[in-house]
């Protein structure tokens, strides 16, 4: 348990490590909310789930390689590289399967998720049998563990998240057209496939950046829940995206903070629970069209529309 003095130091954020970790979690939440907005609009949410789960074999193999070459098996960049590589492999497998006749996207996504996550679990079991000691640290990647993050890890997470945010903002206009009317984008001469590939890489980036804080199972929730909640508050995409980033950031900071206070509770589920609570409130109080409040507010002009 935490002593009174420790509790105070956590609440008042005196500890540098805690401050940096919360900052990192906030940046990650914002990036996930922003990238996730377009993912949800393009109805590609399940892709994020597949990419998330598919990082596990990459992490496990990177761990084994690091052990074999005598490096530190906890090396963050090494494990992140492995995670990104196997997420990209998963994306490629999904695309390849969809080119086969009679394979639909959802079936392809679920098959790749199952196969790669299964492979990852087996690899994890092998690592535990090897008994190299530090295998326990890998659990942090599955359910997220803010507590085990160093300030350096948090800075890395913040930097990756910031990079993803900048790229998404720079391509906001193009991502908007692709999401709303892909064919218009095509006719305007936009490189639609390359832009879609960029969106995929952004999802991989957020997933890999969020491995330590949120974990690979729940990262999909950080990409999907904030935009779903934000949509209840506005009918305009730039606002939806901004609210989504804000909800993601608040969830990241609050969840990480609670995790730091409740010593030992995994941060991933806590961050997601905060986001889910905000989603619940948005369902009740949101003001966009079609929401409980928006419907009442919008009913009069709607009738007028039909009367014209």
């Amino acid at each position: 348990m935490v002593g009174i003095a420790d509790l105070w130091s956590l609440l008042s954020l005196q500890d540098y490590n805690t401050r940096v970790t919360l900052l990192g979690a906030g940046c990650l939440g914002a990036a996930a909310g922003l990238v996730g907005t377009f993912l949800v609009l393009r109805r590609r949410a399940l892709m994020a789930d597949t990419l998330g789960h598919s990082t596990l074999p990459g992490i496990a193999i990177a761990f084994l390689v690091l052990v074999a070459v005598g490096g530190s098996p906890r090396s963050q960049p090494g494990l992140m590289f492995g995670a990104a590589a196997s997420a990209c492999l998963a994306a490629w497998l999904v695309a390849a399967m969809q080119r086969l006749p009679q394979v639909r996207e959802d079936a392809a996504l679920a098959s790749v998720l199952g196969a790669l996550f299964g492979f990852g679990l087996v690899a994890l079991g092998v690592i535990q049998q090897l008994g190299t000691g530090s295998a326990a640290g890998l659990d942090a990647f599955i359910e997220g563990s803010i507590a085990s993050m160093s300030a350096g890890d948090a800075w890395t997470m913040a930097a990756l998240a910031l990079g993803g945010t900048i790229v998404t903002l720079a391509l906001f206009k193009e991502f908007t057209v692709i999401a709303f009317d892909r064919e218009l984008a095509q006719l305007q001469g936009l490189p639609v496939r390359r832009l879609e590939f960029a969106q995929l890489l952004l999802v991989v980036l957020v997933t890999v950046a969020g491995l330590r804080a949120v974990g690979l199972i729940l990262i999909i929730a950080m990409l999907v829940i904030p935009p779903a909640a934000a949509r209840r508050w506005s009918d305009r995409l730039p606002r939806v995206a901004a609210y989504s980033a804000a909800i993601g950031a608040i969830s990241g900071i609050a969840g990480a903070w609670i995790s730091a206070l409740a010593n030992g509770l995994p941060s991933g589920p806590l961050i997601v629970l905060v986001a889910a609570a905000i989603f619940g409130l948005s369902l009740l109080f949101g003001s966009a069209q079609g929401t409980l409040r928006g419907r009442r507010a919008g009913s009069a002009p709607r009738l007028q529309t039909e009367a014209r």
Partner: protein, 268 residues
């Protein structure tokens, strides 16, 4: 009234807005569109007519690269491949292809028509908003500029997409069923705007089901059922024999009546 126009390329040598040769689209063994060819004259209202499943939408979409055409097809816009003249061509999709819950207002949808010319890393400016508002005004939707698009009726949605197409300032407009499922008000507004575009020198190609409306409003047409069954001025193409040929032996009664009406007025 339809003005009979020459179907040949104009004498001044200006290239046709759309010239198609040997266009075939097939998803299975049977082609949906088979060896289609035609050439449009400038400044015309052109209807693509034919029975359901006759390949009208597919054919137009294939010219734009939105459906896969078999090798060997020749499609030229103003004498060039589409990639070189994108700004001169605008396309209006069917409403079924759009997610009407998308977080966008009416004005946002029209503005998207300008994204191509605004370019990478640049923001919308006041002139773009002015252009979008002017386009909405033309289709009588300016008062709805701030509505979420899902709030509109079918005809209003069509008019917003017409505004998005108009705002692109193209010289060739390709529209997939702009008249499907709309009320009389929207129908007359859209007809008026298509005529205005034509009178401004643009060519407007429209997939259309209502043969009577084609006879009344359009200059020329392409009669299509897998193959081209006739091209030219509407009065020449939409004869009972040709329509029966294209529609598998059936001539819509409304067409017969419309033509009789026309003949009656001509003799009086």
């Amino acid at each position: 009234m339809p003005s009979p126009t020459s179907w040949k390329p104009r004498a001044d040598g200006a290239p046709s807005p759309l010239r198609v040769r040997g266009l075939t689209v097939a998803y299975g063994a049977e082609p949906v569109v088979d060896d289609v060819g035609f050439e449009l004259a400038p400044a015309q209202l052109v209807a693509i007519v034919g029975p359901n499943g006759g390949g009208k939408s597919t054919m137009l979409r294939a010219t734009l690269g939105l459906e896969p055409a078999r090798d060997g097809a020749e499609v030229e816009f103003f004498g060039r491949p589409l990639a070189e003249v994108r700004r001169r061509v605008a396309y209006m999709p069917q409403r079924e292809q759009i997610d009407w819950h998308f977080p966008a207002r009416v004005i946002d949808v029209v503005l998207m028509g300008l994204y191509g010319e605004i370019g990478w890393l640049r923001r919308l400016r006041g002139e773009h908003r002015d252009a979008a508002r002017a386009a909405l005004d033309r289709v009588g939707m300016l008062g709805y500029a701030k509505r979420q698009i899902g709030e509109l009726s079918g005809g209003e949605q069509k008019r917003v997409f017409l505004a998005r197409t108009i705002v692109q300032g193209a010289e060739l407009f390709i529209m997939d069923e702009p008249f499907a499922g709309i009320d009389a008000v929207s129908q007359s507004i859209i007809e008026r705007e298509l005529e205005a575009l034509r009178d401004g020198g643009a060519t407007v190609v429209v997939v259309h089901h209502d043969l009577v409306s084609v006879l009344r409003t359009f200059d020329s047409c392409v009669l299509l059922n897998r193959h081209v069954r006739g091209t030219g001025p509407v009065g020449e193409v939409l004869t009972a024999e040709r329509v029966a040929d294209a529609y598998g032996g059936v001539v819509p009664l409304a067409l017969v009546e419309a033509r009789q009406h026309e003949r009656f007025h001509r003799t009086v």
